[in-house]
């Protein structure tokens, strides 16, 4: 039976222009793929997509599809216009967790592509916004076959629904000199501790881990993660004064003043008369700007650790929230350090699972109950620290009859730290 070809005048417009065209790619599957099934599915998909372009509406609805043993990881899609476009009426996406940092050998990409060609549409994306490899378009039956296939050679599903989601980390220590932590190691330690919570959605809503190796936060962790880990350092920035001089010689003093010293948010960097620089490390907030401008001359210090911020998310339901500091600095070197951070994550998720409302992100719960109730409620020692706030309280409407005990706790903690 010859496949049906739909007219796609609007989509055809997207084959013009110099940027690579996803429409040309789908058409190639329709026209040139040796397998009739893929030709038919992609032809039908193009038909439905053209219909969306003409009517400015989407026609996919969700449903319930999973693989044996799991409750999530598949984005089910059933067409609402399946009678008009029958070959793609079931078109589920399979979310697969990428390797930490998104590295692939071509051999592995080919193997994944071959498996998907066997059971799915032949369309895939590296990666979706939650960080998964998205294998786009298969039937309920194909879902199980494809999963069985790739799971046997080392790949697992990601999160979908109210669960711990696939984690993300920047390229970090694999290539970047700004990296202050083992992003990939922590990424895997964290998310792989929660595989049960990834595969069997049972939380109030989604929970995301993201790890960035430095405060440039290329992974958008503070904006987008419930649990953001950002690499940083607490000793002195490393300065190669010869490279500083070379930079000044190449760019000129004016450039350095305009683009380095005056851009420092805490005025912590000075250009000296001899074309070296001095950094006030106590007042440097590790913003990264000067390191970004002068990557040969300036480097993070050696006493690495991480800052942990909790509660980042986008609009729904109460508005955008950035993650906020819960742990200003934590060393991350020994096995115990990693175990501690995993334990902290467990306790935070437990507390939120217990106290979060349905469809309430962790940050929204904190907004509702207040940071102090969160810190005190979580079954993990989260020491109060002025780094948690931009400024102390403005409102006098607070009952403070526990002041003396709280002050004593502070002094005791200080004494312990000094001991």
């Amino acid at each position: 039976m010859a496949k049906k070809i739909y007219e796609t005048p609007m989509l055809d417009e997207l084959e013009n222009g110099p940027w690579p065209s996803f429409i040309s790619g789908i058409k190639k599957l329709r026209d040139d793929h040796p397998e009739e099934r893929i030709q038919e599915v992609t032809s039908s998909l193009l038909g439905q997509l053209e219909h969306s372009y003409e009517t400015r509406k989407g026609y996919w609805k969700g449903g319930t599809v999973s693989v044996f043993g799991y409750g999530g990881g598949i984005i089910p899609r059933f067409s609402e216009v399946g009678s008009a476009f029958p070959e793609s009426k079931e078109f589920h996406t399979i979310r697969v967790q990428p390797p930490a940092g998104n590295h692939y050998s071509t051999a592995m990409l080919r193997q994944l592509g071959d498996s998907w060609e066997k059971w799915g549409s032949g369309l895939q994306t590296f990666h979706g916004q939650t960080g998964n490899i998205m294998f786009i378009g298969t039937t309920t039956e194909g879902t199980q076959h494809f999963f069985d296939d790739i799971n046997s050679y080392g790949w697992d599903l990601g999160g979908a629904g109210p669960c711990v989601r696939t984690a993300m980390s920047c390229i970090g220590a694999a290539r970047c000199e700004m990296s202050c932590t083992n992003e990939h190691g922590l990424h895997r330690h964290l998310v792989n501790n929660f595989t049960d919570d990834v595969h069997r959605p049972a939380l109030p809503y989604k929970f995301k881990f993201k790890v960035s190796g430095c405060p440039n936060d290329c992974q958008n962790a503070i904006e987008r993660a419930d649990f953001a880990v950002i690499g940083t350092w607490r000793d002195e920035m490393k300065i190669d004064q010869e490279e500083v001089k070379a930079f000044v010689a190449a760019k000129g003093r004016q450039y350095v003043i305009d683009n380095v010293t005056t851009r420092c948010p805490t005025n912590a960097i000075t250009l000296n008369d001899d074309d070296t620089i001095t950094v006030d490390n106590h007042n440097c907030v590790r913003c990264m700007h000067c390191l970004n401008v002068m990557p040969k001359a300036l480097h993070p210090g050696d006493d690495h650790g991480v800052t942990i911020l909790i509660g980042g998310k986008r609009t729904l339901k109460i508005g955008d929230l950035m993650g906020t500091v819960v742990v200003p600095f934590k060393k991350l070197e020994t096995e115990e350090d990693y175990e501690e951070i995993v334990e902290m994550a467990e306790e935070i998720i437990d507390f939120w699972a217990e106290n979060g409302l349905e469809h309430e992100r962790c940050g929204e719960m904190i907004e509702r109950i207040g940071l102090v109730n969160f810190l005190e409620g979580v079954d993990f020692d989260l020491d109060l620290d002025p780094n948690m706030v931009s400024n102390p309280r403005q409102s006098s409407y607070i009952r403070m009859d526990g002041w003396d005990e709280e002050a004593e706790k502070w002094f005791n903690r200080k004494a312990e730290a000094a001991a």
Binding site: W19, R56, H103, D148, D196
Partner: protein, 357 residues
């Protein structure tokens, strides 16, 4: 009788070291500095003295298996057999020898991919699934991005911007595309149209009521059937009720518009991270090429390129010149809709005499 189902191996996130270029593996955590020899190319040098060269290129992101294999062929023939994907879905080839860079660039370009996207360029637009696959989209994603990248291709290839520009698109107000220096997002302008015949069968009504950010939804009997009704005076047309209750259709061919937001910045560099702010709305959702949205994005980019200082991201630039000047320079109208009224809105008002003349 069917075979016994296979139990999954819950292996989770795979170890990346097995798929990492060996030079990166050997120098993990030991990198000293990087340089940017030309657009699309990065050179990283390790303390060991070893170095790697990265060539970044843009693709159509929705990859058919032929294109995936083409990318692998380039990797096998001209790179060292490894591919790294950036978080904005660019492909990066990594080689250990400067001599491999130019032949690699030629192979990438001959195959139709676009080298660039590094440093102070307009980076690849991060986007979502749209009409191709999402269940709640107000617009397409890949098509919008294709149209925009066709026009911004030189800004991707070159480094003419004051600092990097991250553009994002999102097909509903959930904003899966994320924060961006410039974000183009669907903004609905009319309350949902409710199919009362379906609500009681399809929707868990109390969760739908709870989902509404302004408590505008309440249970109601309509034509003798349990359904939901919307107080249209309270409704902010956000679409939050639509995912849990598809009979509350929010998408509208005419009234679902595009809005443009600017100044979202993930980085802690200079200032603290920032969220994007509304600058333009009421833009037609106009497939297949979205010319009106494109024109506004290009206008903002031009103003930024002309006026911002080196290293200023869009949020830094606006912070320096002030919002009145931003609206003046871009020619965009300032309306009552720009003044926030959501929780915390008072913090966005000007409680000072800091006014530029």
């Amino acid at each position: 009788m069917s075979d016994k189902p296979r139990s999954p191996i819950e292996s989770g996130c795979p170890d990346a070291f097995q798929y990492m270029h060996p030079t990166m593996r050997r120098n993990y955590g030991q990198w000293k500095f990087h340089e940017h020899p030309k657009p699309g190319v990065l050179r990283h040098v390790a303390y060991s003295g070893e170095e790697i060269w990265t060539v970044r290129c843009g693709t159509q992101r929705i990859l058919d298996v032929f294109t995936l294999r083409k990318l692998c062929d380039i990797g096998d023939e001209y790179a060292d057999g490894f591919i790294h994907f950036t978080i904005r879905s660019n492909v990066e080839y990594i080689v250990d020898d400067a001599a491999k860079v130019d032949p690699l660039i030629k192979a990438i370009e001959d195959a139709g991919f676009i080298v660039g996207g590094t440093k102070n360029s307009v980076a690849m637009i991060s986007h979502t699934q749209g009409w191709l696959h999402c269940d709640i989209p107000g617009t397409d994603a890949s098509g919008v991005v294709k149209s925009m990248m066709d026009e911004l291709i030189n800004e991707f290839r070159e480094n003419n911007m004051p600092n990097r520009v991250h553009i994002t698109t999102s097909c509903c107000q959930i904003n899966c595309g994320g924060q961006g220096d410039i974000a183009i997002n669907i903004q609905h302008t009319k309350p949902p149209k409710i199919n009362h015949d379906l609500v009681s069968n399809v929707c868990e009504r109390p969760s739908v009521v709870a989902r509404c950010p302004v408590a505008a939804i309440r249970p109601a009997m309509v034509n003798g059937k349990p359904s939901l009704e919307v107080d249209e005076k309270k409704c902010i047309c956000c679409g939050a009720c639509f995912p849990p209750c598809p009979p509350m259709q929010i998408n509208d061919a005419e009234h679902s518009k595009l809005a443009v937001w600017v100044g979202g910045n993930h980085s802690n560099a200079r200032g603290k991270p920032t969220f994007q702010k509304l600058v333009a709305a009421g833009i037609p959702n106009n497939p297949p090429r979205w010319p009106e949205a494109n024109a506004i994005v290009k206008r903002i980019l031009q103003a930024y390129k002309d006026d911002a200082k080196d290293w200023e991201r869009i949020n830094d630039w606006i912070e320096r010149i002030g919002w009145p000047r931003f609206f003046e320079k871009t020619g965009l109208p300032f309306t009552k809709y720009h003044i926030d009224n959501w929780r915390g809105a008072r913090n966005s008002l000007n409680a000072s005499t800091h006014i530029r003349f």
